[in-house]
């Protein structure tokens, strides 16, 4: 269709591109420029910093709170994605490849959890976790994160698995491989790109969550970055440490931007997997 566009059309959509990029990036540029302003200039009401200073970055890494939260976030998000994707992979393989009663039930259960409001289980989890010693631990967050991302993992992995040339598996089975071997040795490598995409989506969910982190943690033991930033306290109770918050925000946003840029095509495919019948 692009060949049929007139110059006017091209100009129009080109203008659209500029607006869309500005729309997406201005708030990010704003928090970046805020983080680079020296403390004295924080209240100058200007978009761009007059002088660039890294003092807020030094400050957050000298504090114990932020590095601890960063470590918790990385560890918890990584563990959650590993677990969710592993379990999701088994289920998706069974759903795509095997005939068994209850396949639809699994997909249906996944769908209903996708619309499940996390706030509905905060109270019980809060009570249970305190009773069994999971409150304020990594496991206490990994469990809800992997659960809430399992639906996404199952659906998007199923969508990716449907695209795999499964005849190769049949060939492996003919050569005497067990179903498990066929999965592990032949199919898993082919499925790697879909698995990677799904892991990224799961990682983003866990990296982003605030509700569970705010409710089920209380100290640097397991408090993740979103909760740490939201509960950052400045010199006085009523004053937000704006510079530190901005710097911490930038630090946790950079990895996301890099991932988005590198894997954009896959991420879009994973996000919309199965959303529209093809």
């Amino acid at each position: 269709m692009s060949a049929k566009q007139t110059n006017m059309d091209r100009l129009f959509w080109g203008f659209g591109v500029v607006i869309a990029v500005a729309y997406a990036l201005i708030p990010v540029a704003w928090i970046l420029s805020l983080s680079l302003k020296p403390a004295a200039d924080l209240n100058d009401n200007r978009f761009f910093p007059r002088v660039v200073s890294f003092e807020h970055y030094r400050a957050i890494f000298q504090d114990i709170q932020f590095p601890a939260a960063l470590w918790n976030s990385v560890g918890i998000a990584t563990l959650s994605s590993l677990l969710a994707v592993t379990l999701g992979m088994f289920a998706a393989y069974a759903i795509v490849r095997l005939e068994f009663p209850g396949r639809r039930l699994v997909l249906g259960a996944a769908l209903s959890i996708a619309i499940f409001p996390p706030i509905a289980i905060i109270g019980p989890l809060f009570n249970l976790w305190r009773a069994v010693g999971l409150f304020d631990t990594w496991a206490g967050l990994v469990l809800p994160y992997m659960t809430f991302t399992l639906p996404l993992a199952i659906w998007s992995l199923s969508a990716f698995f449907r695209e795999i040339p499964w005849d190769l598996e049949k060939a492996a089975r003919m050569d005497g491989a067990t179903p498990f071997q066929a999965f592990y040795r032949v199919i898993a490598p082919l499925a790697a790109p879909g698995v990677l995409t799904t892991s990224i989506l799961v990682f983003i969910f866990a990296w982003n969550d605030f509700l569970f982190a705010a409710s089920l943690t209380s100290t640097n033991n397991a408090r993740t970055v979103p909760a740490a930033i939201a509960f950052f306290t400045g010199s006085s109770r009523f004053e937000l440490p704006t510079g530190s918050i901005a710097a911490a925000s930038v630090v946790v946003t950079v990895p996301i931007i890099v991932m988005m840029w590198v894997f954009q095509r896959r991420i879009v495919a994973g996000l919309t997997a199965g959303a529209v019948k093809e």
Binding site: A20, R103, V106, G123, L211, P226, V268
Partner: protein, 293 residues
């Protein structure tokens, strides 16, 4: 052959079991437990006063002003953000669909709001509108404190939501847009149909399933809004949402009985919204779609 079928069934169940068990243990069991707790007077600060009270907690929630005000606030935010997102999302999807240059750039750029931590996005917007640190007032020549008044606070909250989640809407709509046959649009163009008319008579009806899925998921998501409001106003200026009422009752005031009743009611609302969507728009939603955020 029979033996093989049976072993296949077994393998299928075996492979699905870990995922299904996890989902059941972490959601089905707690929601049942929440329902159970909601039938008790149970305040963690006074645990010895725990007693079965039947539906009394529901009665107090449903007759409290806090609950209904938060419901109204939640609906204002949900409807306000989802409507604008649909329009903006369409515009973004059309740009990505038609742009010759920069398609890749737009896609990568709009993934940034999608991927950014909600708390961070909420803080960025809060600082931007803040009268002491922000640039918005200076830019517009205003001097209001946006987050200290109800409607301007809603404006900032809704704007943040829109910025953060429109990309998701746009990507779902783009997926639907690519399924509209190009030939049909070309034929209509030959017959003299204007761009407007082509959009409303061909593109829009063909995209109905994609639009419904996008609307359903965004509505359910917006109804659960918590992070943005928590960061920007903490519920002050009468901007408290139902999820915040749940959080405050459960985690701040440690009232598990009352808080669980709030949780169960939110759960019921979410189910109702899903049912209304499916019923109102026919069977095109709810069957095969798999976008699950």
């Amino acid at each position: 052959m029979r033996g093989r079928t049976r072993s296949e069934h077994r393998l299928g169940w075996l492979l699905c079991a870990p995922a299904v068990v996890t989902m059941a243990v972490v959601t089905a069991y707690p929601i049942a437990y929440a329902f159970w707790l909601s039938l008790f007077r149970y305040d963690l600060r006074f645990p010895e006063e725990r007693a079965f009270v039947g539906l009394a907690n529901y009665a107090s929630v449903l007759t409290s002003e806090v609950w209904w005000r938060s419901m109204v606030n939640t609906l204002i935010i949900t409807i306000g953000s989802v409507t604008v997102e649909l329009v903006l999302g369409f515009a973004l999807a059309l740009v990505m669909h038609h742009a010759v240059f920069g398609r890749r750039t737009v896609r990568a750029a709009i993934l940034v709001p999608y991927g950014i931590i909600t708390v961070v996005a909420a803080l960025a917007w809060k600082f931007a509108f803040d009268p002491t640190t922000g640039f918005v007032n200076a830019l517009l020549g205003l001097d209001g404190a946006w987050l200290t008044e109800r409607w301007s606070a809603f404006f900032v909250i809704i704007a943040t939501e829109i910025w953060k989640t429109t990309p998701f809407m746009a990507l779902l709509l783009l997926a639907g847009l690519t399924l509209v046959p190009e030939d049909l649009l070309r034929a209509a163009r030959m017959d003299g149909a204007s761009a407007m008319r082509r959009f409303f008579a061909i593109t829009l009806p063909l995209m109905k399933p994609a639009i419904l899925v996008a609307l359903l998921f965004r509505t359910l998501d917006a109804f659960r809004i918590f992070d943005t409001v928590f960061v920007q106003t903490r519920g002050a200026q009468d901007t408290e949402t139902v999820s915040m009422v749940g959080y405050n009752t459960l985690v701040v005031r440690l009232n598990l009985g009352l808080g669980s009743a709030v949780s169960v009611l939110i759960f019921v609302c979410v189910v109702l919204i899903a049912v209304v969507f499916v019923k109102a728009f026919g069977t095109s939603v709810g069957g095969e779609e798999g976008e699950l955020e």
